[in-house]
């Protein structure tokens, strides 16, 4: 079957609009700092609007890719230009455009070499968006690597004192990780060629062959190797213990906008990769790797929190806290329960909001005082009550206080981990959940300590005594985050509803046997609102938006709920009922 080119559509516009903006910035004279800022802000806001447009056309009730674009590229090698979104990527796209726009807004404080700075920021946005919409592995890889370059320069040029070391470390760690992924990709394409006779780097093609069992039929023994080739790349990116040490340096030395994007979006590429590649493509080995990945997650949660608690530098503290928070994401995803996966995927967004906001707030005070050391702060509440109040709200979101977004994600992740481990699925043990939950205590330890060091006590430094509170526009900037903190905490279904179908599908792709797996190319399969895999009338990809009439249930959702049902109990239950 020869696929027809669809031409370029809204997703291409979304991805390349920032690139266009970058080109425009480069055409302006070097000294026109104001123009650079305006151009960057306008471009990022326009991109955000385009992403809202994408979201408006997005259909949450299907797990299939939507707004798919296909343009032939290298047919001999099976490499094509192929984009699409589903419930997993749509939120990351919105998060990316939002955080980039807010970072560009904040970047009015950048005064040196604004032209290059804004251009790199916009290039970075293109790369990040490209990662989240690519459905071709080579395209994905290209964007994945392309995101390193602007970030490398952002750190290396506009960073703190140890910027050279930090930027190189960042580059080498992530680059080394993704080399393995490239090998894995080529291996998958080759396997596709073995199964069907044609090379293809298309994610949908490969997953389709995985779902029907043909792809791995002859190469089962290599499946775990290829899985880990991908997993290593994503573990570095997440970052998971023990591959995390690039992160504290990079986060700390990066300029504020860089930190926001690094924490808010770049780390999500790792967890997104797990959801996009590691779950759907390796159904025979995923379950066996769960204990290892969950153990790394739990260690990350505790280790990140413990190390975070003794940092003398506020940015470094928040950086280590990211290790802990991303541990919750990883744990939720690899609990492979419906609840845990939603929790993990949701926690990605929450971490982007709360940690992004923390870096923003730290950036605001850094612009004033040019220090990140706790020793230089203290008592700020007296002079900056508004700043203190906003900082408090964001900090509580990071602590995971119920009512804020952080709680819902953490709660669902932990609950999923507990369900799976209590039922002893995948070789998990309840200790995983018990230790992971202890991370919640440690989060309070280091974050409250941070708040105390910054805001409580008498003012000790003369400069702090003269500080003025935030300016109105700065407050407005932070308020955007605050709105999402409460929105996400009180009405989480806004965010979780559209991602559920795709997450259910990812879980079933990973766990179901051949013939019962959802298939990204088979439009006759669908996930219904209860999470069942059902058959639907044949339809075209353009018609996904019409709510399907759900037909026969292929695999009921409950089949994969890891419910605790001790064997003795089921026997006893019957006579009583």
């Amino acid at each position: 079957m020869v696929e027809q080119s669809t031409g370029f559509g809204v997703l291409s516009l979304l991805v390349f609009l920032p690139l266009l903006g970058a080109a425009l910035v480069l055409l302006t004279p070097r000294e026109a700092a104001g123009l650079h800022r305006v151009l960057a802000l306008a471009t990022t806001v326009a991109t955000f609007l385009v992403s809202l447009w994408v979201f408006a056309g997005f259909q949450g009730a299907t797990y299939h890719f939507q707004m798919v674009e296909f343009v032939p590229w290298f047919p001999q090698a099976g490499i094509h230009y192929r984009l699409g979104v589903d419930g997993i990527s749509i939120w990351l796209i919105l998060l990316t455009t939002l955080l980039t726009a807010l970072s560009a807004w904040f970047s009015v404080y950048v005064r040196e070499r604004t032209k290059a700075y804004m251009a790199f920021l916009l290039l970075l946005e293109t790369a990040m968006l490209g990662v989240f919409v690519s459905l071709d592995m080579i395209l994905f890889y290209t964007f994945f690597e392309a995101s390193l370059i602007p970030m490398y320069f952002l750190i290396a040029i506009w960073g703190g004192e140890r910027r050279a070391y930090a930027s190189l470390k960042f580059f080498l760690f992530t680059f080394a990780g993704s080399i393995f992924m490239l090998i894995g990709m080529v291996a998958l394409a080759k396997l596709h060629e073995q199964a069907t006779g044609v090379w293809s780097f298309s994610l949908m093609d490969i997953q389709s062959e995985v779902a029907n069992g043909r792809l791995w039929a002859g190469a089962l023994q290599t499946q775990a190797v290829v899985f880990w080739a991908f997993a290593v790349a994503f573990l570095v990116k997440c970052p998971a213990f023990p591959l995390h040490t690039w992160l504290p340096d990079a986060h700390t030395e990066a300029p504020t906008a860089g930190s926001i994007i690094l924490a808010g979006v770049l780390l999500k590429m790792g967890t997104y990769g797990f959801l996009r590649f590691c779950l759907p493509l390796f159904p025979d080995v995923v379950a066996n790797q769960v204990p290892i990945l969950c153990a790394l997650a739990v260690i990350g949660i505790l280790y990140g929190a413990a190390v975070s608690a003794v940092q003398p530098d506020v940015k470094r503290l928040v950086a280590y806290s990211s290790v802990a928070h991303m541990g919750f994401v990883l744990l939720g995803i690899f609990s492979l329960t419906p609840t845990g996966m939603v929790g993990g995927a949701y926690q990605q967004l929450n971490h982007g909001i709360s940690t992004g906001a923390l870096f923003l707030l730290i950036g605001l005070i850094y612009e004033r005082r040019h220090t990140r050391l706790f020793a230089d702060y203290g008592g700020l509440k007296a002079r900056m009550p508004l700043f203190a109040a906003l900082f408090l709200i964001i900090m509580l979101s990071s602590v995971g206080l119920p009512g804020t977004n952080g709680f819902v994600g953490e709660f669902l992740s932990l609950m999923g981990a507990f369900e799976a481990s209590f039922a002893r699925r995948f070789g998990l043990h309840p200790a995983y959940a018990v230790f992971a939950a202890a991370g919640v205590i440690l989060a309070a330890v280091y974050l409250l300590w941070m708040f105390q060091k910054m805001f409580y006590g008498p003012i000790t430094s003369e400069e702090n005594r003269r500080l003025k509170d935030l300016k109105p526009w700065e407050v407005a900037l932070v308020m955007v985050f605050v709105v999402f903190v409460f929105w996400g905490g009180l009405v989480p279904s806004t965010f979780t509803k559209p991602m559920e179908a795709s997450l259910h599908a990812a879980r079933m792709m990973a766990l179901n046997p051949v013939g019962q797996r959802p298939d990204w190319r088979n439009l006759e399969l669908e996930i219904d609102p209860k999470g069942n895999l059902v058959r639907v009338e044949p339809r075209t990809r353009e018609a996904l938006a019409t709510p399907p009439n759900y037909g026969e249930v292929v695999v009921p959702a409950e089949k994969h709920y890891p419910l605790a049902k001790p064997s003795a109990e089921t026997a006893k239950e019957q006579p009583r009922a």
Partner: protein, 726 residues
Amino acid sequence: MDPFALIWWIVLLPLAGSLVQALFGGAVVRALGPRSGKRLMGALAVLPVAVGFLLGLALLTAHLEAGAATERVVTLAPWIDLAGLKVDFAARVDSLSLLMVLVVTGVGALIHLYATGYMADDRDYTRFFTYMNLFVAFMLVLVTADNLPLLFVGWEGVGLCSYLLIGFWYKDVANAKAANKAFIVNRIGDWGFMLGMFLILACIAGTVSENQTDNRWLDFGYILPKAYTYLADRPELATAIALLLFVGACGKSAQFPLYIWLPDAMAGPTPVSALIHAATMVTAGVYLVSRMHVFYVLSPVASAVVAAVGAFTALFAALVAFGQTDIKKVLAYSTVSQLGFMFVACGAGVYWAGMFHVATHAFFKALLFLGSGAVIYAMAHNQDLRNYGNLRKYLPITCWTMFVGYLAIAGVPPLAGFFSKEAILGGALGSRHAAASLAVWAGWVGLLTAALTAAYMTRLTMLTFFGREERWRRLQPAHGHGHGHASDHGQHYGFGHGNAGAHSHQDPHGFFLTDEEAAALARQEDDGHHHDLDPSHRPKEAPPSMTLPLVALALLSVVGGWGLQHWAKLETFLQYPGLRMLPQGAIQAHPHGIPLLALSIGAAALGIAYGWVVYRRGLPKGEGFDEERWHPFRRWAGRQFGYDDALVQTGVQGGDVLANTLWKGFDAGVIDGIANGLGALACQLGRGLKVIQTGFVRSYALLMLAGGVALLAYMVAVLMRIGGGN
């Protein structure tokens, strides 16, 4: 309109009040001037809580009309809504939640009223009421929630408000540390709570038949009856759930291993201590155990643990109270001790008696704290009992209302404490719950503690209000400002001009205050602080806004016990015919053949007599400022028998060492060591190549290319292998 929908009004009114304070408070106070502005905002703070109380009464009427055994769920909106898990913002109206609603709003309104007077001079007046109203809202969420996650919202929310209010006077780092301690220790409890909640979900979910995944698993109306059928013959699971939830209860209700935060929490303003750390929040653990009592009924082991922990805490804290000289610290340990009593009741299976003591304790302990606040207010914020004496001459209203509270907590009939304590002791001593022997022991310990309670409360009352000597007259006259303030203020005028000049030049964004603004701010700050206690001090009775709540609470402390037991018939009011929600634990009038009345009156009399003998003449010589002359046991008790110190040493310092080792040893040492080592290796390799191909390998790019080629070669090898497998 359905009268039960009022429940959400009760919950949301204080929340709205909090938002009003937060958003408009500052502006109103600025616009109307501090005096009338604060008066208006104070009224607006009391109003939502008071209206909540009235609505609660209306709700109670409707509830009684429908029959005390009815239960209703009012759903406001969905919250978490997944394919397999639905959690609603759902409020539960039944006898248990109504009792708590009335206590929280009733006592809460009185304490708010008191606080309008107590905090009148504070610059952060509206911030205070923002937190207070928010607290009431969260507390109401806690007691009305119909599912555990929503209950957890309230649970952590009250913890947050407690944190904010303990650290309310933020300029003192000690307050911030106390606040952190409270939050973190509570989080340890929350850890248990969360795991217990997950375990309940995992167990109950296991009984949901497969086509029923839509069911709202988490509603109390669903899981509690389910638990009966599911866990009846799985006591080990019931025990695990019950103990995990009890860890949460220990954190919030300050029971033994986790009580350490409550004494430090006294750093907050006194109305906070009365409302949060005595009357309402700290009883949340008792409420939780009562609400989830199904699991404790099913698990004799867990009940025994609850009773034992409760009894031990009651005794331990009562002993520690003897070594305290700070009036609020005495009351704090007394609260810990009384909470222990409530858990003895829960452990013995007389849950209603626990809730009864929650209510009466709210009356008299709020009274005692507010009274102590009035004393502290009158004594220039000095809290040391050793500086008081003969205050009844100056503070008659405070003295006699507090005296009522003292009699009530000592267990003198017919005051409130007598009835609820008797119910607990009678239930425990005559317990027939499966953990009977332990519960009976807990009952005897409780009896001993009752005597101790009467004794240390007599000490407090005597030292404060009675005796001829006015001990503050013996103080050394203070010089100028009190210490602690001087250091903070001394530097305000220290801006050198050279320094200021630097600012005006390097401040393009307008980040900093100008010299004039800074000086004005410093002057303004200098006004708002008080003077210390000195020998010429003349204590003054508090304003009516403060004494009125004292009188009201004193009345409640007199009639509350008899009223709740005999007039409101609390024991039957809290029964659920269908579910045996709060199973009847009979009070034994003659446990072990001895009349209960004689036992409890005897204990109270003994304690009071001891206290009177020792303290009637004022401060004994052996308890003065020179702690070296204290009895060693009192010194030891004063330091909490070394428990807190040991815990802080191991927990905080040990944790610090561990974390530093991880960071500097493992993170920077091992992991980065390996990474840097690899880097160095690559450089060596590069140098090696340089020797061979002089001049070619100069850049990273080329090195990477070489690496890329090597990897491609490896890739080809892998592909060959895959091909071979086919």
